[in-house]
């Protein structure tokens, strides 16, 4: 496993794309801080970007890497290596390298601006942490889609659709159902609807650090009781973990049945 991971990682580190991604975040961090000159505001903008962009990048890279490393995969499949090892190794290699680009790309500019001495260091860490989680989740989901679709174009299309659904359409449906059924108690429903979409869940986890007053203040006790507690925090991160684990299980299952 370590060997496969090493080679995938090595392979990615040599591709231009990881650098492009790294440089993108680096620039983004500097530009944000330069324009705002205010860590607070930069973090809010950053949140919007992380919650939307890391899933997108994870999805695109996941699909792309799967199709592009087909030769590599086939070469490995003829070697005495477990199938699940090959795919999990690739998955981890890709996710780790993307997360690393994120952490370094954003970490460096914010370090320059003295995040360490700032009160919002915790917010920043949460942000990066959630970004890394989203990367892992969406790479796993994208790998699933790619494994199930031999056709590159189709796979790519489905993957983008998946992202669009999670990032935008889901929230639209969610909002509409909240508005339509606003005569009923909606606290439980909203809680569940949030927890079942990793993008929403991540957004809420970051929001709890930023806009805590509005969220805590206005809606029912359910949110407060859930997200405001250590239990809620653990439950949320467990849910994010499940969002990684289930797609991974499917990758292993799917891969063991696939012909190459």
């Amino acid at each position: 496993m370590i060997k496969i991971l090493k080679y995938s990682f090595y392979d990615l580190m040599r591709s231009r794309w990881s650098y492009a991604y790294f440089v993108f975040y680096l620039l983004l961090g500097f530009v944000l801080l330069f324009l705002n000159n205010n860590l607070d505001k930069a973090i809010i903008t950053l949140m919007n970007i992380i919650v939307i962009l890391t899933p997108l990048i994870g999805t695109v890279f996941g699909v792309m890497y799967y199709y592009n490393s087909k030769e590599f995969t086939e070469l490995l499949l003829a070697q005495p290596v477990k199938r699940s090892t090959i795919f999990l190794g690739q998955f981890i290699g890709l996710s780790v390298s993307l997360s690393l680009s994120l952490v370094l790309g954003l970490g460096i500019p914010f370090l320059f601006y003295g995040i360490m001495n700032s009160a919002i260091i915790l917010n920043f860490i949460t942000l990066i942490f959630v970004g890394a989680f989203l990367t892992f989740i969406f790479v796993a989901l994208a790998y699933n889609i790619a494994l199930s679709n031999e056709n590159k174009i189709k796979g790519f299309g489905y993957a983008i659709l998946m992202w669009l659904f999670m990032a935008v359409i889901y929230d639209g449906l969610f909002l509409i159902s909240l508005l339509v059924f606003d005569d009923y108690p909606l606290d439980q429903f909203s809680l569940f609807a949030t927890v079942f979409n990793p993008v929403d869940l991540s957004r809420i986890l970051i929001l709890l650090k930023l806009d805590i007053s509005a969220l805590m203040g206005y809606t029912g006790a359910v949110f407060k009781d859930f997200f405001g507690t250590i239990f809620g925090l653990i439950a949320s991160f467990s849910m994010l973990m499940l969002w990684i684990i289930f797609p991974l299980l499917r990758i292993v299952r799917k891969a063991s049945r696939k012909d190459f």
């Binding site: 490393s69 030769e71 590599f72 003829a78 005495p80 477990k82």
Partner: protein, 235 residues
């Protein structure tokens, strides 16, 4: 010894291998022949475990290979299409496979034999088809494992390299290895193989020595014997 029992595989709705039974004894060169789409590559990939059979069983040295990976330690495989990660160099691929298989190699001798030194640090994407096939051959022959599976090993090779390849195959045979070869070049097959397995539409139509095949169809060379076999089948 490789035993294949009732092997069945369909891709989509097209059956590729139909209840195939085959036993390949230790040592010797076995040529798997058949027209395009007859299931040769599928058979080979099934043995390797790259293709998952719908039904049936493959035993290597008496052990089932189903869902296993350890048996690949005994097999050196030369794929039909020499696809490699394009942004790696030749030496990196060789080192990587060595690292993964973790057994004794003689890659240095082979690189010298095929005169690949000038290409070692070139990216695989930038190599010609023939050179890539040489890399392919090196990756297969640098190990010393009991089973060799060669899928169209002659593709794109120049005459000198072909001679080297033949001598490598013969050398392997002398060491008592089991060698499975598919090829379209009958002359090559005729020259090196001990036994022929003829596949058509996912079934075995002939299994025996080259001599037996020629005698059966009363032909002077293998090519015509095969043609005759095909004719009989399609009549």
């Amino acid at each position: 010894m490789i035993q294949i029992k009732d092997l069945h595989k369909t891709f989509g709705k097209v059956p590729v291998l139909k209840e195939l039974n085959l036993t390949i004894k230790d040592s010797g060169i076995f040529a798997i022949l058949g027209p395009n789409g007859s299931g040769k590559t599928t058979l080979i990939k099934s043995i390797l475990g790259m293709v998952v059979p719908d039904k049936g069983e493959i035993l290597i040295d008496g052990k089932s290979t189903k869902g296993q990976w350890e048996h690949r330690q005994k097999i050196n495989y030369l794929p039909q299409i020499a696809n490699f990660p394009s942004n790696l160099s030749v030496i990196e691929v060789i080192e990587m496979i060595k690292n993964i298989r973790n057994s004794k190699t003689r890659d240095g001798d082979l690189v010298e034999l095929f005169k690949l030194q000038p290409f070692l640090n070139k990216k695989l994407a930038n190599l010609s088809g023939g050179t890539r096939q040489k890399v392919n051959i090196i990756l297969t022959f640098m190990f010393d494992d009991p089973i060799l599976i060669l899928d169209e090993p002659t593709t794109g090779l120049d005459p000198l390299s072909l001679i080297h390849l033949k001598s490598l195959i013969k050398e392997a045979k002398e060491k008592g290895k089991t060698i499975l070869i598919t090829s379209h070049i009958m002359q090559f097959v005729e020259e090196i193989s001990d036994e022929i397995v003829f596949l058509l539409d996912g079934k075995i139509y002939f299994k025996g020595s080259v001599k037996l095949l020629k005698e059966t169809y009363n032909e002077q060379d293998l090519e015509h014997a095969i043609a005759a076999l095909l004719n009989v089948q399609y009549d």
